[in-house]
Amino acid sequence: MTTGSPGLRPVTFPAARAARGRGAGAEARARRRDGAWPWLFVLPLLTGVVLFYVWPIIQTFYFSFTEWGVFGGSSWTGIDNYVRLVQDPQLYLSLGNTLLYTGIVLLGVPIAVYLASLLNTPGLRFASFYRVLFFLPYIAMPTAIAMVWRIIFNGDFGILNYVLSFAGIDGPYWVSTAGFATVAVAIVGIWSSIGFSMIVLGAGLKNIPTEYYEASELDGASRWRQFRSITVPLLTPSIFFVVIITVIASFQMFDLLFAILGSQNPILPKSMSLVYFFYHAGFVTNERGYAASIAMIIFVIIGLVTLLQFRLQRRWVNVD
Protein backbone atom coordinates (compact mmCIF):
# COMPACT_ATOMS: atom_id res chain seq x y z
CA MET A 1 0.00 0.00 0.00
CA THR A 2 2.93 2.29 0.62
CA THR A 3 4.45 1.59 -2.77
CA GLY A 4 1.69 3.14 -4.83
CA SER A 5 -0.10 1.60 -7.75
CA PRO A 6 0.30 -2.16 -8.06
CA GLY A 7 0.31 -1.77 -11.83
CA LEU A 8 3.75 -0.22 -11.67
CA ARG A 9 5.43 -3.12 -9.98
CA PRO A 10 6.13 -5.39 -12.96
CA VAL A 11 7.85 -2.49 -14.71
CA THR A 12 10.06 -1.24 -11.89
CA PHE A 13 11.12 -4.59 -10.61
CA PRO A 14 13.00 -6.31 -13.42
CA ALA A 15 14.68 -3.00 -14.19
CA ALA A 16 15.98 -2.63 -10.65
CA ARG A 17 17.21 -6.17 -10.62
CA ALA A 18 19.00 -5.86 -13.95
CA ALA A 19 20.77 -2.77 -12.66
CA ARG A 20 22.19 -4.80 -9.86
CA GLY A 21 23.57 -7.13 -12.45
CA ARG A 22 22.23 -10.30 -10.89
CA GLY A 23 18.98 -10.74 -12.79
CA ALA A 24 17.51 -14.19 -13.11
CA GLY A 25 20.33 -15.91 -11.21
CA ALA A 26 19.32 -14.45 -7.85
CA GLU A 27 15.70 -15.23 -8.57
CA ALA A 28 16.53 -18.88 -9.27
CA ARG A 29 18.73 -19.16 -6.20
CA ALA A 30 15.99 -17.65 -4.04
CA ARG A 31 13.52 -20.09 -5.46
CA ARG A 32 15.75 -23.05 -4.83
CA ARG A 33 16.29 -21.98 -1.24
CA ASP A 34 12.59 -22.52 -0.46
CA GLY A 35 13.36 -26.22 -0.65
CA ALA A 36 10.89 -28.34 1.29
CA TRP A 37 9.38 -25.36 3.14
CA PRO A 38 6.40 -24.82 0.84
CA TRP A 39 5.19 -28.36 1.41
CA LEU A 40 5.70 -28.10 5.15
CA PHE A 41 3.50 -25.03 5.07
CA VAL A 42 0.82 -26.57 2.88
CA LEU A 43 0.69 -30.21 3.92
CA PRO A 44 -1.08 -29.97 7.31
CA LEU A 45 -3.99 -28.13 5.77
CA LEU A 46 -3.99 -30.08 2.51
CA THR A 47 -4.06 -33.41 4.36
CA GLY A 48 -7.05 -32.30 6.44
CA VAL A 49 -8.94 -30.94 3.46
CA VAL A 50 -8.38 -34.09 1.42
CA LEU A 51 -9.24 -36.39 4.33
CA PHE A 52 -12.29 -34.55 5.61
CA TYR A 53 -13.65 -32.89 2.46
CA VAL A 54 -12.33 -34.15 -0.88
CA TRP A 55 -12.47 -37.83 -0.06
CA PRO A 56 -15.92 -37.54 1.61
CA ILE A 57 -17.33 -35.84 -1.49
CA ILE A 58 -16.10 -38.70 -3.67
CA GLN A 59 -17.36 -41.23 -1.15
CA THR A 60 -20.78 -39.59 -0.87
CA PHE A 61 -21.09 -39.72 -4.65
CA TYR A 62 -20.35 -43.45 -4.43
CA PHE A 63 -22.80 -43.88 -1.53
CA SER A 64 -25.56 -42.45 -3.68
CA PHE A 65 -25.42 -45.66 -5.74
CA THR A 66 -25.66 -47.99 -2.74
CA GLU A 67 -28.19 -49.17 -0.22
CA TRP A 68 -27.35 -49.54 3.47
CA GLY A 69 -28.48 -52.49 5.54
CA VAL A 70 -29.97 -52.07 8.99
CA PHE A 71 -26.93 -53.69 10.59
CA GLY A 72 -24.34 -51.85 8.53
CA GLY A 73 -22.82 -52.94 5.26
CA SER A 74 -23.92 -51.58 1.94
CA SER A 75 -24.63 -53.00 -1.47
CA TRP A 76 -24.38 -51.54 -4.94
CA THR A 77 -27.81 -50.74 -6.33
CA GLY A 78 -26.95 -48.62 -9.36
CA ILE A 79 -29.28 -45.72 -10.00
CA ASP A 80 -32.07 -47.13 -7.81
CA ASN A 81 -31.79 -44.27 -5.31
CA TYR A 82 -32.18 -41.70 -8.04
CA VAL A 83 -35.13 -43.55 -9.57
CA ARG A 84 -36.77 -43.68 -6.15
CA LEU A 85 -35.95 -40.03 -5.56
CA VAL A 86 -37.63 -38.67 -8.69
CA GLN A 87 -40.73 -40.67 -7.78
CA ASP A 88 -40.76 -39.58 -4.15
CA PRO A 89 -43.44 -36.93 -3.50
CA GLN A 90 -41.35 -35.79 -0.52
CA LEU A 91 -38.69 -34.48 -2.93
CA TYR A 92 -41.17 -32.20 -4.68
CA LEU A 93 -42.74 -31.15 -1.40
CA SER A 94 -39.35 -30.20 0.05
CA LEU A 95 -38.30 -28.53 -3.18
CA GLY A 96 -41.56 -26.58 -3.19
CA ASN A 97 -41.09 -25.50 0.42
CA THR A 98 -37.51 -24.49 -0.29
CA LEU A 99 -38.59 -22.46 -3.32
CA LEU A 100 -41.40 -20.80 -1.35
CA TYR A 101 -38.96 -20.00 1.45
CA THR A 102 -36.39 -18.65 -1.01
CA GLY A 103 -39.02 -16.56 -2.78
CA ILE A 104 -40.18 -14.94 0.45
CA VAL A 105 -36.65 -14.30 1.72
CA LEU A 106 -35.82 -12.64 -1.63
CA LEU A 107 -38.55 -10.08 -0.85
CA GLY A 108 -36.10 -8.88 1.78
CA VAL A 109 -33.65 -7.76 -0.93
CA PRO A 110 -35.64 -4.71 -2.14
CA ILE A 111 -36.24 -3.79 1.48
CA ALA A 112 -32.49 -4.06 2.12
CA VAL A 113 -31.75 -1.88 -0.95
CA TYR A 114 -34.12 0.78 0.30
CA LEU A 115 -32.84 0.68 3.89
CA ALA A 116 -29.20 0.67 2.74
CA SER A 117 -29.80 3.78 0.63
CA LEU A 118 -31.40 5.49 3.62
CA LEU A 119 -28.47 4.48 5.79
CA ASN A 120 -26.08 5.91 3.23
CA THR A 121 -27.60 9.40 3.45
CA PRO A 122 -24.69 11.78 4.17
CA GLY A 123 -24.74 13.21 7.66
CA LEU A 124 -27.25 10.70 9.01
CA ARG A 125 -27.29 10.66 12.80
CA PHE A 126 -26.78 7.34 14.60
CA ALA A 127 -25.71 5.68 11.33
CA SER A 128 -23.31 3.28 13.02
CA PHE A 129 -25.89 2.53 15.71
CA TYR A 130 -28.36 1.47 13.03
CA ARG A 131 -25.71 -0.57 11.28
CA VAL A 132 -25.07 -2.54 14.47
CA LEU A 133 -28.78 -2.94 15.13
CA PHE A 134 -29.57 -4.34 11.69
CA PHE A 135 -26.56 -6.62 11.79
CA LEU A 136 -27.26 -8.18 15.21
CA PRO A 137 -29.78 -10.75 13.91
CA TYR A 138 -27.23 -12.04 11.40
CA ILE A 139 -24.73 -13.04 14.06
CA ALA A 140 -27.17 -14.18 16.75
CA MET A 141 -27.18 -17.94 17.28
CA PRO A 142 -30.08 -19.18 15.09
CA THR A 143 -31.21 -21.84 17.55
CA ALA A 144 -31.22 -19.40 20.46
CA ILE A 145 -33.14 -16.65 18.74
CA ALA A 146 -35.54 -19.21 17.27
CA MET A 147 -36.76 -19.86 20.82
CA VAL A 148 -38.25 -16.38 21.14
CA TRP A 149 -39.69 -16.53 17.62
CA ARG A 150 -41.57 -19.66 18.69
CA ILE A 151 -43.24 -17.60 21.38
CA ILE A 152 -43.88 -14.65 19.07
CA PHE A 153 -45.54 -16.98 16.54
CA ASN A 154 -47.47 -18.99 19.13
CA GLY A 155 -51.09 -19.41 18.04
CA ASP A 156 -52.59 -18.99 21.51
CA PHE A 157 -50.47 -16.42 23.29
CA GLY A 158 -48.07 -15.14 20.63
CA ILE A 159 -47.70 -11.39 20.33
CA LEU A 160 -47.90 -11.51 16.53
CA ASN A 161 -51.48 -12.79 16.56
CA TYR A 162 -52.27 -10.33 19.35
CA VAL A 163 -51.13 -7.46 17.14
CA LEU A 164 -52.95 -8.92 14.13
CA SER A 165 -56.16 -9.11 16.17
CA PHE A 166 -56.24 -5.30 16.27
CA ALA A 167 -56.41 -5.34 12.50
CA GLY A 168 -59.30 -7.77 12.76
CA ILE A 169 -57.19 -10.68 11.57
CA ASP A 170 -57.58 -13.99 13.32
CA GLY A 171 -53.98 -15.20 13.16
CA PRO A 172 -53.26 -18.84 12.34
CA TYR A 173 -51.33 -21.39 14.35
CA TRP A 174 -48.15 -20.37 12.60
CA VAL A 175 -45.82 -23.06 13.84
CA SER A 176 -48.24 -25.98 13.67
CA THR A 177 -49.96 -25.36 10.31
CA ALA A 178 -48.20 -26.53 7.17
CA GLY A 179 -47.64 -23.66 4.76
CA PHE A 180 -47.89 -21.00 7.46
CA ALA A 181 -44.89 -22.62 9.11
CA THR A 182 -42.79 -22.05 5.99
CA VAL A 183 -43.95 -18.43 5.89
CA ALA A 184 -43.10 -18.02 9.57
CA VAL A 185 -39.60 -19.44 9.11
CA ALA A 186 -39.13 -17.23 6.05
CA ILE A 187 -40.07 -14.13 8.05
CA VAL A 188 -37.30 -15.00 10.49
CA GLY A 189 -35.07 -15.66 7.45
CA ILE A 190 -35.66 -12.10 6.19
CA TRP A 191 -35.12 -10.69 9.65
CA SER A 192 -31.79 -12.44 10.07
CA SER A 193 -30.35 -11.81 6.59
CA ILE A 194 -31.37 -8.21 5.93
CA GLY A 195 -28.46 -6.71 7.87
CA PHE A 196 -25.91 -8.68 5.90
CA SER A 197 -27.49 -7.64 2.59
CA MET A 198 -27.44 -4.02 3.74
CA ILE A 199 -23.70 -4.17 4.45
CA VAL A 200 -22.89 -5.59 1.02
CA LEU A 201 -25.19 -3.08 -0.67
CA GLY A 202 -23.74 -0.27 1.45
CA ALA A 203 -20.27 -1.05 0.10
CA GLY A 204 -21.69 -0.81 -3.43
CA LEU A 205 -23.42 2.48 -2.64
CA LYS A 206 -20.15 4.07 -1.55
CA ASN A 207 -18.83 3.56 -5.10
CA ILE A 208 -21.55 5.69 -6.67
CA PRO A 209 -20.11 9.19 -7.25
CA THR A 210 -22.00 11.82 -5.27
CA GLU A 211 -21.82 14.12 -8.31
CA TYR A 212 -24.66 12.15 -9.88
CA TYR A 213 -26.92 13.00 -7.00
CA GLU A 214 -25.82 16.63 -6.94
CA ALA A 215 -26.41 17.02 -10.67
CA SER A 216 -29.83 15.42 -10.52
CA GLU A 217 -30.73 17.62 -7.58
CA LEU A 218 -29.99 20.68 -9.69
CA ASP A 219 -32.32 19.25 -12.31
CA GLY A 220 -35.00 19.03 -9.62
CA ALA A 221 -35.18 15.25 -9.33
CA SER A 222 -37.10 13.95 -6.32
CA ARG A 223 -35.62 11.56 -3.77
CA TRP A 224 -37.64 8.69 -5.21
CA ARG A 225 -36.59 9.59 -8.75
CA GLN A 226 -32.93 9.57 -7.68
CA PHE A 227 -33.38 6.21 -6.01
CA ARG A 228 -35.00 4.76 -9.13
CA SER A 229 -32.77 6.31 -11.79
CA ILE A 230 -29.36 6.47 -10.10
CA THR A 231 -29.17 4.19 -7.08
CA VAL A 232 -30.84 1.06 -8.39
CA PRO A 233 -29.23 0.92 -11.87
CA LEU A 234 -25.71 1.63 -10.58
CA LEU A 235 -26.15 -0.79 -7.74
CA THR A 236 -27.22 -3.68 -9.99
CA PRO A 237 -23.98 -5.72 -9.61
CA SER A 238 -24.22 -5.57 -5.80
CA ILE A 239 -27.93 -6.36 -5.88
CA PHE A 240 -27.23 -9.33 -8.10
CA PHE A 241 -24.52 -10.57 -5.74
CA VAL A 242 -26.89 -10.29 -2.78
CA VAL A 243 -29.60 -12.17 -4.67
CA ILE A 244 -27.23 -15.04 -5.50
CA ILE A 245 -25.96 -15.29 -1.93
CA THR A 246 -29.52 -15.20 -0.61
CA VAL A 247 -30.59 -17.95 -2.99
CA ILE A 248 -27.63 -20.17 -2.08
CA ALA A 249 -28.14 -19.63 1.65
CA SER A 250 -31.90 -20.18 1.38
CA PHE A 251 -31.44 -23.46 -0.45
CA GLN A 252 -29.32 -24.62 2.48
CA MET A 253 -31.84 -23.58 5.12
CA PHE A 254 -31.94 -25.97 8.05
CA ASP A 255 -31.16 -24.43 11.44
CA LEU A 256 -34.15 -22.11 11.65
CA LEU A 257 -36.60 -24.75 10.50
CA PHE A 258 -35.24 -27.30 12.94
CA ALA A 259 -35.27 -24.90 15.87
CA ILE A 260 -38.54 -23.07 15.23
CA LEU A 261 -40.64 -26.11 14.38
CA GLY A 262 -38.93 -28.54 16.73
CA SER A 263 -37.87 -32.04 15.70
CA GLN A 264 -41.10 -33.64 16.96
CA ASN A 265 -43.52 -31.36 15.14
CA PRO A 266 -46.21 -33.43 13.36
CA ILE A 267 -46.31 -31.07 10.37
CA LEU A 268 -42.60 -31.58 9.67
CA PRO A 269 -43.08 -33.95 6.69
CA LYS A 270 -45.15 -31.27 4.98
CA SER A 271 -42.78 -28.44 5.93
CA MET A 272 -39.34 -29.92 5.24
CA SER A 273 -36.75 -28.01 3.30
CA LEU A 274 -34.43 -29.87 0.93
CA VAL A 275 -31.63 -29.99 3.50
CA TYR A 276 -34.08 -31.13 6.18
CA PHE A 277 -35.19 -33.91 3.83
CA PHE A 278 -31.53 -34.87 3.48
CA TYR A 279 -31.03 -34.80 7.26
CA HIS A 280 -34.18 -36.82 7.86
CA ALA A 281 -33.28 -39.54 5.36
CA GLY A 282 -29.66 -39.73 6.43
CA PHE A 283 -29.83 -39.45 10.18
CA VAL A 284 -33.42 -40.04 11.36
CA THR A 285 -34.52 -42.97 9.21
CA ASN A 286 -30.86 -43.85 8.55
CA GLU A 287 -31.12 -44.40 4.81
CA ARG A 288 -27.64 -43.13 4.09
CA GLY A 289 -27.49 -44.16 0.44
CA TYR A 290 -30.79 -42.44 -0.27
CA ALA A 291 -29.64 -39.35 1.63
CA ALA A 292 -26.46 -39.31 -0.45
CA SER A 293 -28.53 -39.10 -3.62
CA ILE A 294 -30.49 -36.16 -2.12
CA ALA A 295 -27.15 -34.50 -1.31
CA MET A 296 -26.09 -34.86 -4.93
CA ILE A 297 -29.30 -33.17 -6.10
CA ILE A 298 -28.62 -30.25 -3.73
CA PHE A 299 -25.03 -30.18 -5.00
CA VAL A 300 -26.21 -29.89 -8.61
CA ILE A 301 -28.74 -27.14 -7.81
CA ILE A 302 -26.20 -25.05 -5.87
CA GLY A 303 -23.63 -25.71 -8.60
CA LEU A 304 -25.97 -24.39 -11.28
CA VAL A 305 -26.70 -21.23 -9.28
CA THR A 306 -22.97 -20.67 -8.71
CA LEU A 307 -22.26 -21.20 -12.41
CA LEU A 308 -24.92 -18.65 -13.27
CA GLN A 309 -23.23 -16.21 -10.92
CA PHE A 310 -19.83 -16.66 -12.57
CA ARG A 311 -21.30 -16.27 -16.05
CA LEU A 312 -23.16 -13.09 -15.28
CA GLN A 313 -20.34 -11.64 -13.21
CA ARG A 314 -17.94 -12.02 -16.11
CA ARG A 315 -20.37 -10.24 -18.38
CA TRP A 316 -20.53 -7.30 -16.00
CA VAL A 317 -16.77 -7.09 -15.74
CA ASN A 318 -16.51 -6.98 -19.54
CA VAL A 319 -19.09 -4.24 -19.76
CA ASP A 320 -16.97 -2.13 -17.43
Partner: protein, 261 residues
Protein backbone atom coordinates in the same frame (compact mmCIF):
# COMPACT_ATOMS: atom_id res chain seq x y z
CA UNK B 1 -38.25 7.42 10.53
CA UNK B 2 -38.31 4.29 8.35
CA UNK B 3 -34.95 3.35 9.81
CA UNK B 4 -36.31 3.84 13.31
CA UNK B 5 -39.25 1.50 12.70
CA UNK B 6 -36.97 -1.01 10.96
CA UNK B 7 -34.46 -0.81 13.77
CA UNK B 8 -37.18 -1.43 16.32
CA UNK B 9 -38.39 -4.50 14.43
CA UNK B 10 -34.80 -5.78 14.30
CA UNK B 11 -34.30 -5.27 18.03
CA UNK B 12 -37.75 -6.44 19.11
CA UNK B 13 -37.05 -10.22 19.30
CA UNK B 14 -34.01 -9.56 21.47
CA UNK B 15 -35.96 -7.25 23.79
CA UNK B 16 -38.90 -9.62 23.89
CA UNK B 17 -36.62 -12.50 24.72
CA UNK B 18 -35.12 -10.52 27.56
CA UNK B 19 -38.54 -9.61 28.93
CA UNK B 20 -39.76 -13.20 28.64
CA UNK B 21 -36.65 -14.47 30.38
CA UNK B 22 -37.56 -12.35 33.40
CA UNK B 23 -41.26 -13.31 33.49
CA UNK B 24 -43.11 -16.22 35.04
CA UNK B 25 -44.31 -19.08 32.85
CA UNK B 26 -47.90 -17.93 33.38
CA UNK B 27 -47.07 -14.43 32.19
CA UNK B 28 -45.44 -15.77 29.03
CA UNK B 29 -48.51 -17.86 28.25
CA UNK B 30 -51.19 -15.30 29.05
CA UNK B 31 -53.44 -14.52 26.10
CA UNK B 32 -53.12 -10.77 26.62
CA UNK B 33 -49.36 -10.22 26.52
CA UNK B 34 -47.62 -8.79 29.58
CA UNK B 35 -45.27 -6.13 28.28
CA UNK B 36 -43.42 -6.05 31.55
CA UNK B 37 -43.34 -8.75 34.25
CA UNK B 38 -45.05 -7.93 37.54
CA UNK B 39 -41.86 -8.89 39.27
CA UNK B 40 -38.48 -9.49 37.64
CA UNK B 41 -37.73 -13.21 37.91
CA UNK B 42 -33.95 -13.29 38.11
CA UNK B 43 -34.25 -16.81 39.46
CA UNK B 44 -34.87 -18.02 35.90
CA UNK B 45 -31.20 -17.44 35.21
CA UNK B 46 -30.23 -19.46 38.27
CA UNK B 47 -32.49 -22.28 37.14
CA UNK B 48 -30.70 -22.43 33.78
CA UNK B 49 -27.66 -23.76 35.61
CA UNK B 50 -29.64 -26.04 37.92
CA UNK B 51 -32.08 -27.66 35.50
CA UNK B 52 -30.15 -27.78 32.22
CA UNK B 53 -26.66 -29.15 31.54
CA UNK B 54 -25.83 -25.56 30.68
CA UNK B 55 -22.31 -25.45 32.09
CA UNK B 56 -21.08 -28.54 30.27
CA UNK B 57 -22.64 -27.27 27.02
CA UNK B 58 -21.05 -23.88 27.52
CA UNK B 59 -17.72 -25.55 28.12
CA UNK B 60 -18.07 -27.53 24.89
CA UNK B 61 -19.01 -24.42 22.92
CA UNK B 62 -16.08 -22.45 24.29
CA UNK B 63 -13.62 -25.28 23.64
CA UNK B 64 -14.72 -26.00 20.06
CA UNK B 65 -14.65 -22.29 19.26
CA UNK B 66 -11.13 -21.82 20.64
CA UNK B 67 -9.68 -25.00 19.14
CA UNK B 68 -11.17 -24.46 15.70
CA UNK B 69 -10.27 -20.79 15.55
CA UNK B 70 -6.72 -21.46 16.71
CA UNK B 71 -6.21 -24.32 14.26
CA UNK B 72 -7.66 -22.38 11.35
CA UNK B 73 -5.42 -19.40 12.03
CA UNK B 74 -2.28 -21.54 12.11
CA UNK B 75 -3.09 -23.90 9.22
CA UNK B 76 -4.72 -21.40 6.89
CA UNK B 77 -2.07 -18.73 7.40
CA UNK B 78 0.76 -21.18 6.65
CA UNK B 79 -0.95 -22.66 3.60
CA UNK B 80 -2.20 -19.29 2.37
CA UNK B 81 1.33 -17.90 2.55
CA UNK B 82 2.85 -20.80 0.65
CA UNK B 83 0.21 -20.57 -2.07
CA UNK B 84 0.66 -16.84 -2.46
CA UNK B 85 4.39 -16.39 -2.00
CA UNK B 86 6.27 -19.61 -2.65
CA UNK B 87 6.81 -21.55 -5.81
CA UNK B 88 6.72 -25.31 -5.79
CA UNK B 89 5.73 -28.25 -7.90
CA UNK B 90 2.04 -29.10 -7.68
CA UNK B 91 1.01 -25.70 -6.34
CA UNK B 92 -1.63 -25.17 -8.99
CA UNK B 93 -3.27 -28.56 -8.46
CA UNK B 94 -3.17 -28.36 -4.65
CA UNK B 95 -4.73 -24.90 -4.74
CA UNK B 96 -7.42 -25.97 -7.20
CA UNK B 97 -8.33 -28.93 -4.97
CA UNK B 98 -8.74 -26.70 -1.92
CA UNK B 99 -10.64 -23.92 -3.66
CA UNK B 100 -13.04 -26.35 -5.33
CA UNK B 101 -14.36 -27.23 -1.85
CA UNK B 102 -15.64 -23.67 -1.53
CA UNK B 103 -18.34 -24.31 -4.09
CA UNK B 104 -19.62 -27.56 -2.60
CA UNK B 105 -22.59 -27.50 -0.22
CA UNK B 106 -21.88 -29.24 3.08
CA UNK B 107 -24.50 -31.96 2.52
CA UNK B 108 -22.22 -33.41 -0.16
CA UNK B 109 -19.68 -34.51 2.46
CA UNK B 110 -21.60 -34.76 5.76
CA UNK B 111 -22.58 -38.44 5.50
CA UNK B 112 -19.05 -39.54 4.78
CA UNK B 113 -17.57 -37.23 7.43
CA UNK B 114 -19.93 -38.83 9.93
CA UNK B 115 -18.78 -42.26 8.78
CA UNK B 116 -15.12 -41.33 9.26
CA UNK B 117 -15.71 -39.88 12.72
CA UNK B 118 -17.73 -42.96 13.67
CA UNK B 119 -15.01 -45.33 12.45
CA UNK B 120 -12.43 -43.44 14.46
CA UNK B 121 -14.61 -43.91 17.55
CA UNK B 122 -15.01 -40.15 17.90
CA UNK B 123 -18.81 -39.95 18.18
CA UNK B 124 -19.88 -38.07 21.31
CA UNK B 125 -16.38 -36.69 21.83
CA UNK B 126 -15.02 -33.18 21.64
CA UNK B 127 -12.52 -34.12 18.96
CA UNK B 128 -15.35 -35.55 16.86
CA UNK B 129 -17.25 -32.25 16.96
CA UNK B 130 -14.11 -30.27 16.24
CA UNK B 131 -12.30 -32.39 13.65
CA UNK B 132 -13.59 -31.40 10.19
CA UNK B 133 -13.79 -27.74 11.19
CA UNK B 134 -10.07 -27.51 11.90
CA UNK B 135 -9.46 -27.23 8.17
CA UNK B 136 -10.95 -24.41 6.22
CA UNK B 137 -10.82 -23.89 2.48
CA UNK B 138 -12.37 -20.48 2.93
CA UNK B 139 -9.70 -19.45 5.43
CA UNK B 140 -6.96 -20.54 3.06
CA UNK B 141 -8.54 -18.52 0.29
CA UNK B 142 -8.81 -15.51 2.59
CA UNK B 143 -5.18 -15.68 3.73
CA UNK B 144 -3.86 -16.34 0.22
CA UNK B 145 -5.64 -13.20 -1.00
CA UNK B 146 -4.14 -11.24 1.90
CA UNK B 147 -0.58 -12.33 1.13
CA UNK B 148 -1.03 -11.85 -2.62
CA UNK B 149 -1.89 -8.20 -2.03
CA UNK B 150 1.30 -7.45 -0.12
CA UNK B 151 4.19 -5.57 -1.71
CA UNK B 152 6.91 -7.89 -3.03
CA UNK B 153 9.70 -5.46 -2.17
CA UNK B 154 9.69 -6.28 1.54
CA UNK B 155 10.01 -9.98 0.97
CA UNK B 156 12.70 -9.47 -1.63
CA UNK B 157 14.67 -7.28 0.74
CA UNK B 158 14.47 -9.85 3.51
CA UNK B 159 15.69 -12.52 1.13
CA UNK B 160 18.62 -10.49 -0.06
CA UNK B 161 19.54 -9.94 3.58
CA UNK B 162 19.77 -13.70 3.86
CA UNK B 163 16.63 -14.38 5.88
CA UNK B 164 15.32 -17.94 5.63
CA UNK B 165 11.83 -18.52 4.21
CA UNK B 166 10.52 -19.18 7.70
CA UNK B 167 12.05 -16.01 9.07
CA UNK B 168 10.73 -13.97 6.14
CA UNK B 169 7.28 -15.36 6.80
CA UNK B 170 7.38 -14.90 10.58
CA UNK B 171 9.02 -11.51 11.00
CA UNK B 172 8.17 -9.70 7.79
CA UNK B 173 4.95 -10.99 6.25
CA UNK B 174 2.95 -12.28 9.20
CA UNK B 175 2.72 -8.96 11.06
CA UNK B 176 1.35 -7.38 7.87
CA UNK B 177 -1.38 -10.01 7.66
CA UNK B 178 -2.84 -9.20 11.05
CA UNK B 179 -6.06 -7.53 9.78
CA UNK B 180 -6.90 -10.56 7.63
CA UNK B 181 -6.08 -12.92 10.47
CA UNK B 182 -8.59 -11.13 12.66
CA UNK B 183 -11.22 -11.47 9.92
CA UNK B 184 -10.47 -15.19 9.80
CA UNK B 185 -10.69 -15.44 13.59
CA UNK B 186 -14.04 -13.67 13.67
CA UNK B 187 -15.65 -15.75 10.92
CA UNK B 188 -14.32 -18.96 12.40
CA UNK B 189 -15.46 -18.13 15.93
CA UNK B 190 -18.91 -17.04 14.78
CA UNK B 191 -19.42 -20.18 12.74
CA UNK B 192 -18.07 -22.52 15.43
CA UNK B 193 -20.28 -20.98 18.08
CA UNK B 194 -23.50 -20.97 16.06
CA UNK B 195 -23.21 -24.13 13.95
CA UNK B 196 -26.01 -26.64 14.47
CA UNK B 197 -26.07 -29.50 12.00
CA UNK B 198 -22.67 -31.13 12.50
CA UNK B 199 -22.71 -31.16 16.34
CA UNK B 200 -26.28 -32.45 16.15
CA UNK B 201 -25.13 -35.42 14.07
CA UNK B 202 -22.15 -36.50 16.14
CA UNK B 203 -23.59 -36.07 19.63
CA UNK B 204 -26.42 -38.04 21.22
CA UNK B 205 -26.66 -36.78 24.78
CA UNK B 206 -27.44 -33.29 26.01
CA UNK B 207 -24.29 -33.29 28.15
CA UNK B 208 -21.94 -33.60 25.18
CA UNK B 209 -23.62 -31.07 22.92
CA UNK B 210 -22.53 -27.50 22.42
CA UNK B 211 -25.11 -24.82 23.23
CA UNK B 212 -26.45 -24.56 19.68
CA UNK B 213 -27.48 -28.21 19.51
CA UNK B 214 -28.45 -28.34 23.18
CA UNK B 215 -30.99 -25.53 22.81
CA UNK B 216 -32.41 -26.92 19.59
CA UNK B 217 -33.12 -30.34 21.08
CA UNK B 218 -34.61 -28.83 24.24
CA UNK B 219 -37.72 -27.87 22.31
CA UNK B 220 -38.97 -31.42 21.90
CA UNK B 221 -39.66 -31.70 25.62
CA UNK B 222 -43.33 -31.29 26.45
CA UNK B 223 -42.85 -29.62 29.80
CA UNK B 224 -41.15 -26.61 28.34
CA UNK B 225 -40.55 -23.95 30.94
CA UNK B 226 -40.48 -20.96 28.58
CA UNK B 227 -38.79 -18.37 30.80
CA UNK B 228 -35.92 -20.73 31.62
CA UNK B 229 -35.45 -21.57 27.92
CA UNK B 230 -35.44 -17.84 27.16
CA UNK B 231 -32.87 -17.20 29.85
CA UNK B 232 -30.67 -20.02 28.52
CA UNK B 233 -30.96 -18.62 25.00
CA UNK B 234 -29.98 -15.16 26.19
CA UNK B 235 -26.91 -16.57 27.90
CA UNK B 236 -26.00 -18.65 24.83
CA UNK B 237 -26.09 -15.67 22.49
CA UNK B 238 -24.49 -13.19 24.85
CA UNK B 239 -20.75 -13.92 24.31
CA UNK B 240 -20.91 -13.52 20.52
CA UNK B 241 -23.17 -10.47 20.69
CA UNK B 242 -20.88 -8.77 23.20
CA UNK B 243 -17.83 -9.63 21.10
CA UNK B 244 -19.58 -8.11 18.11
CA UNK B 245 -20.52 -4.88 19.85
CA UNK B 246 -16.92 -4.50 21.05
CA UNK B 247 -15.35 -5.22 17.66
CA UNK B 248 -18.19 -4.07 15.43
CA UNK B 249 -16.34 -2.40 12.55
CA UNK B 250 -14.03 -5.32 12.05
CA UNK B 251 -16.78 -7.90 12.21
CA UNK B 252 -18.96 -6.07 9.72
CA UNK B 253 -16.15 -5.59 7.21
CA UNK B 254 -14.91 -9.11 7.71
CA UNK B 255 -18.26 -10.74 7.18
CA UNK B 256 -19.07 -8.54 4.22
CA UNK B 257 -15.89 -9.90 2.65
CA UNK B 258 -16.58 -13.48 3.55
CA UNK B 259 -19.86 -13.76 1.70
CA UNK B 260 -21.64 -16.91 2.68
CA UNK B 261 -20.19 -18.18 5.89
Amino acid sequence: MVLGVGGFLMAFPFLWQMIMSLSTNAEVQSVVPHFWPAELQWDNYVEVFERLPFLSQLRTSVLITIIRTGAQIVLCTLAGYAFARMRFRGRGIALAVILSILMVPSQAYLISQYQIVQNLGWLNTLIGIVAPGLFSAFGTFLMRTAFLNMPAELEEAARLDGASPVRTFWSVMLPLARPSISVLAITSALWSWNELLWPLLVTTYQEQMPLSAGLATLVGNKSTDYPVVMAASMLAMAPILILFIVLQRRVVDGLAFSGLK
